[in-house]
Symmetry: C2
Subunit: 308 residues, 2 copies
């Protein structure tokens, strides 16, 4: 059995428009690299963090907390070391903490000979994610672990559905380098919504699930509307409406806030359109005095994986 393993832990988009709080998908070429190593000393040890300044103490580190949750379920006379090369900026809205949380448990599970199911891995990762977001949710964890589109039907008990998606679906992300406080993103949400808008939201969400199942790009496009969350949270993201307008004008299928922002995602049919959308939204932000990154990716149907 191997003693160490290298992992690519992908970025993810949660709160996909009308699928707020339940639907997410996985990205292909943006993610953290992690090395998980068996060690004679019992316990979980973060031995190296590159990229961003994060706590080395396992109990204060998202990857450490999920690893400890799994470790407590084991009865082994050895421990694990975790090295993290963090590429996804914390707070960017594309599942940075989720990538850390799943990376450690996925790697440990591989070294142990896969005793745990993907759903069980998600359960452990929820503990790590809760350290970062102060609540237990799985909308970034599930797509990172399962790949593709996932619907978290419920957290307790944890029920994750894998939703198929068409082959030629691409995503473009823009990450404006501003900070949105999680507390602010939460406080801005209404506690009550009109029944009429709720009905519109579930009509769109049901249609989106049907569109993904049937590879109906036109329907996917018509369904990617969020009448409940976006009107509030988009106010926290400078140039949100301009980005969205330009993306749609360029032929994007839809556009929305990634997670709780500040990143914005657009979905496209085909790489060519995703590239054009990237150019168009870069153009919007180039006029602003805000640093930003953009990413382009196919939908990653594999999810987290071993690399050499």
């Amino acid at each position: 059995m191997k003693n160490e393993i290298k992992i690519f832990s992908p970025a993810t988009v949660a709160n996909v428009a009308c699928g707020f709080d339940v639907l997410g998908f996985c990205l292909d070429n943006i993610g953290d690299e992690m090395l998980i190593r068996k060690t004679n000393k019992k316990g979980i040890f973060i031995t190296k963090i590159e990229g961003f300044d994060l706590p080395m103490d396992a109990e204060l580190n998202v990857a450490g907390v999920s690893a400890l949750a799994m470790y407590e379920a084991l009865n082994v006379d050895y421990g694990f070391e975790i090295e993290i090369c963090k590429n996804i900026k914390p707070g960017s809205g594309i599942g940075s903490s989720a990538a850390s949380a799943v990376g450690s448990v996925f790697g440990m599970n591989e070294l142990l000979g896969k005793p745990f199911s993907k759903t069980q891995l998600t359960e452990f990762a929820i503990k790590g994610e809760a350290l970062a977001s102060k609540c237990e949710h799985a909308d970034n964890l599930a797509p990172a672990i399962f790949g593709g589109f996932t619907l978290v039907k419920s957290v307790s008990p944890l029920e994750i559905l894998e939703i198929p998606s068409p082959d030629d679906l691409y995503v473009t992300i823009i990450h404006p380098q501003i900070e949105i406080k999680t507390s602010e993103a939460r406080a801005i949400l209404p506690k009550e919504v009109s029944l009429q808008s709720a009905i519109t939201q579930w009509a769109n969400f049901g249609s989106l699930i049907h569109g993904l199942h049937t590879s109906n790009y036109e329907l996917i496009s018509k369904s990617l509307h969020d009448v409940i969350i976006e009107p509030h949270r988009s106010k926290l993201i400078p140039y949100y409406n301009e980005v969205k307008m330009e993306a749609l004008k360029t032929g994007a299928l839809g556009c929305g806030i990634s997670g709780s922002g500040p990143s914005i995602f657009s979905l496209s049919k085909g790489l060519e359109n995703a590239k054009n959308v990237e150019d168009a939204i870069k153009n919007v932000y180039s006029k602003a005095d805000i640093k930003f990154d953009t990413y382009r990716s196919r939908i990653n149907t594999e999810g987290i994986k071993i690399i050499n």
Copy 2:
């Protein structure tokens, strides 16, 4: 070309649990029979109504109003006579007015050589349905015309999605013979709902659509929950909770209010279970001093049809 045609216009269930206001399905062996006949005299004429006492004046009759809506779109030098053998009791909650509204336009369209699409027929039928329910909606019309499960994504513009369903899905209906006033069923609904319950509803609705696509009976069962409408409207239906409890105890996949009631539907895997559910819910109502009917049906994937 034929001069007259006989139609079976099926009963339907709308407001399917978490799919309130958008999801409906079609029944097999409960419905109205209608005869549509070309006549030399221009106009639309209701010439016979059996079963229930309904207006003979086309402009005051649901089937007449939808027929007139289509007739106005035609330029023909003849008219149509409509005979209605009404088997679905008005106000029962299983799409009585919808069956009338679609029957006339479906029959006329057949006699005309099918110039109109199913969606166009639904548009005409909406006009008839509006006479009965005082608002334009298509959640009973769409399953009657298309068959199977339908999702009305939006009414304006009219967008109807046909959702596949597993072969072995059966429905049991109990119709307690009480009257629920539409105005009361509407007034009892909240104008605002909590964001949390709305999220639960769309998680369930997305899961139900996925479950129907994947013939996953367990998931269909887990998804058939309505946390928003049922708590209010079920109060208007005597013994609702008892019927639901007995149906679920007997192995029904789920149970809910059909339309705005008073009928209650249960879904079952297999005919055998549907029969057992029928016995169980009959048993509940036999103890009450309320007259009732029960029906059992496969999901009718064909929808409205010509009969001899």
